[in-house]
């Protein structure tokens, strides 16, 4: 039975079948990988590019980054502070979710883009206090429309910078490369 199947695979029809199977698997894998590389769909196509173009600082909308572990996503009231003075907000179809959210009081369900696993405890404050700029990890937002991740936040990415910053300072190196600094 199995021998007959292998014999059939060597025939032209069998070879075509093998080819089709291989192509299907390959394209499925490529599609899967490309899916994982796309930024997630957001309720509003928020253009970081335009907002930064107006000269708005990162910390204006994400003030938590300077104060605590989480940078935070601004509430609709923060958006509305500027947007209710802009005529286009009332008519734009892209901004309709924001207007609806303000009227109904239901918060927009933003999808987090830059994430670390549950077993990593990240603190924005310490990094900002150490003089790191947002774009060192989050990329140049002035070139992005919907937020996307320029790099994978894995341990190599973190430690590369931690060892570089510590340099010759042994005490700092011990603290910055200690497992317990991030994993608990």
């Amino acid at each position: 039975m199995i021998k007959r199947f292998f014999d059939w695979l060597k025939k032209p029809l069998g070879l075509i079948a093998v080819g089709i199977t291989f192509l299907a698997l390959f394209s499925l894998a490529a599609y899967g990988i490309s899916l994982s590389q796309q930024p997630p769909a957001q309720p509003v196509q928020f253009p970081h590019r335009i907002h930064i173009g107006f000269g708005i600082q990162c910390l204006y909308c994400h003030p938590g980054a300077a104060k605590g572990p989480s940078a935070g996503i601004p509430a609709e009231a923060r958006c509305w502070g500027c947007h209710n003075q802009i005529v286009k907000t009332q008519t734009s179809l892209l901004l309709k979710p924001l207007k609806d959210s303000v009227i109904s009081g239901k918060p927009l369900q933003w999808v987090p883009v830059a994430q670390v696993p549950d077993f990593v405890q990240f603190n924005h404050r310490a990094h900002i206090a150490a003089g790191q700029n947002c774009e060192n990890c989050h990329g140049d937002m002035s070139k992005m429309t919907v937020a996307e991740n320029p790099q994978i936040f894995n341990m190599g990415f973190c430690l590369k910078c931690h060892t570089k910053v510590a340099g010759e300072n042994h005490d700092l190196l011990v603290k910055l490369t200690d497992c317990g600094t991030c994993h608990y």
Partner: protein
Amino acid sequence: MAIELKVSEVKMGEAYVGKWGMVIDQDMCTGCQACVAACAMENNLSFVGETDSGYGRSMHWIRIERFWEGSYPEVKMTPNQPMLCQQCGAATCEPVCPAFATVHSQAEQLNLQVYNRCVGTRYCANNCPYQVRSFNWRDYKRPEPLPNQLNPDVTVRRRGVMEKCTFCIQRIHKAQDKAKSEGREVVDGEFTTACAQACPASAITFGRVDNPDSLVSQLARVHGHGVKHLEELGTLPNVTYFKGG
């Protein structure tokens, strides 16, 4: 070929001083289990249920041990003994881990458990003389709305991972972060562990043992007869017990 044994350079006995330490006064302890409950809430411990608890798989990072002296009917109960990870200076759990998941923190002088490294051999728990490590035998369900009370500062462990007391390292980091943002050092008594905070009899005191002015160091001096459990094994525990003072 002769194997050359290298004796550890860790100083033995009283010469060893850790960083974070705890003092537990067993005469004050009433055995109310408030520390056990507080620890479970703070550190996202799972509720294993009746069946698994019957197998001895209950998960607690701190437990109250009770012992009896004498034979029935003349039994006398010894003081309650809260038992938690002793954060040994020379821990027996550390060298046996094949995945380096339980390592010694050089910065905080604690025994760490790195959950994402742990492969679940359970060797560390078998090698711990205090029996304070607990293993996640299953993914224990948290029915709604219990997930809402999870502490976001602590990892939620999954099946097949060992866990144990961390001396509330998330609180240590929080206090250090707050102190650093205000440009000062961490003050003694500024923060404490969940068990010490919950103890209604103040039987548990937590702080820096390497600072002679801290409350833990002062208590250790006042009592003067503190006991470290299984000290003869050379584990250099950082928890001191007082009894019969």
